[in-house]
Symmetry: C2
Subunit: 197 residues, 2 copies
């Protein structure tokens, strides 16, 4: 089926989330049909992004610079920190354009099943920001899953010693639902309807 | 949302068949999280495949060599030529492992709507093979669509002057269906149940 180079390409594509073996083959074929105009540009964009990508030391976002574009933007309200599970959640909120503050990306949730404990969450920079002062509100925008709720409770405990109001996005996040599959309107509603945690 | 390099990557991924904007973002994130171990290898596989891919001058298959692995394989029966619309169809038949002969990839079908005429089909090499002799049977494995049927009829006309039996895959290809979405069993049944065209 087209040489080991082509088979290797299909195998690597098939490992991407959202692409099964069938769509990986379709994608590979589309690329192979236009090697110069389609495949090389994508390969080069990937290589460039792979070399340029950085994790923001402040918030955990992925960007080509550190601090990331959001943390570096003087127009963003540093006093308003929205805590999310993943970079995908951050991107979803940015697409919805509903949060004018900054973020903290935990990189996951507490999960006994997955063996993820507090030491696996990217919370240090958040505590550092709180200790530096200037944070007026923390919005917990974690998924409405068991793990999201557990993580929210644990975070509230840890945040109690700072005298900063903590709210949780409420109405709008469906039960059992992750944030990054929601439409922009739902995300906006959820953020507006936040309540004290 | 993560720098122009990252946005460009997402935009290019979103143009792949089977990947919408949402799955393109998910795929990009998965790659960005593992730039060294996941993204660079895929980029390099793409670049390698883009530089290596060739269209087989004999059959129209895409491979890293010309003649392709199938045409070059001494174990394949050169007397049995299976005519398919696309390289994807060829790959589907190869995965099913039901055809021990060689192929001719037309690269499309006759389509008034798409403005595709006989001159757009890759049939020259098939006629050349017939003129050279040694072809004992031609199997038309085109989709059971209006365009597939039109193309089959046109090809039969053109093939009539060669004294070679022409069969068509029959039972198994659902009406209106393309070949490359069928399971292996259906493909095998369709090929076994071929009948004179
Ligand atoms: Zn940042
Ligand atoms: Zn070939």
């Amino acid at each position: 089926m087209g040489g080991t180079d082509i088979e290797r390409l299909i195998a690597l594509l098939a490992r991407l989330p959202g692409l099964g073996p069938r769509s990986a083959r379709r994608a590979a074929l589309a690329l192979l049909r236009q090697p110069q105009t389609r495949m090389l540009p994508l390969a080069q964009a990937m290589e460039q992004a792979a070399r340029a990508v950085k994790t923001c030391a402040t918030c955990g976002n992925l960007d080509t610079r550190d601090p990331c574009g959001i943390c570096a933007d003087p127009a963003r309200d540093r006093g308003l920190v929205c805590v999310v599970e993943t970079v995908g959640d951050l991107w979803a909120l940015e697409r919805a354009g509903v949060h004018r503050g900054v973020y903290q990306v935990l990189g996951g949730t507490l999960s006994a099943l997955a063996g993820l404990g507090p030491e696996d969450l990217n919370v240090g920079p958040l505590f550092a920001r709180l200790e530096q002062g200037g944070v007026r509100e923390i919005i917990l925008a974690l998924g409405a899953t068991v793990e999201g709720a557990t993580t929210s409770h644990w975070l509230q405990d840890r945040l109690a010693r700072f005298d900063v109001p903590v709210s949780r996005v409420g109405q709008g996040v469906p039960m059992g639902g992750a944030l990054d599959v929601l439409d922009d309107g739902t995300l906006a509603a959820a953020l507006l309807a936040r309540r004290p945690a």
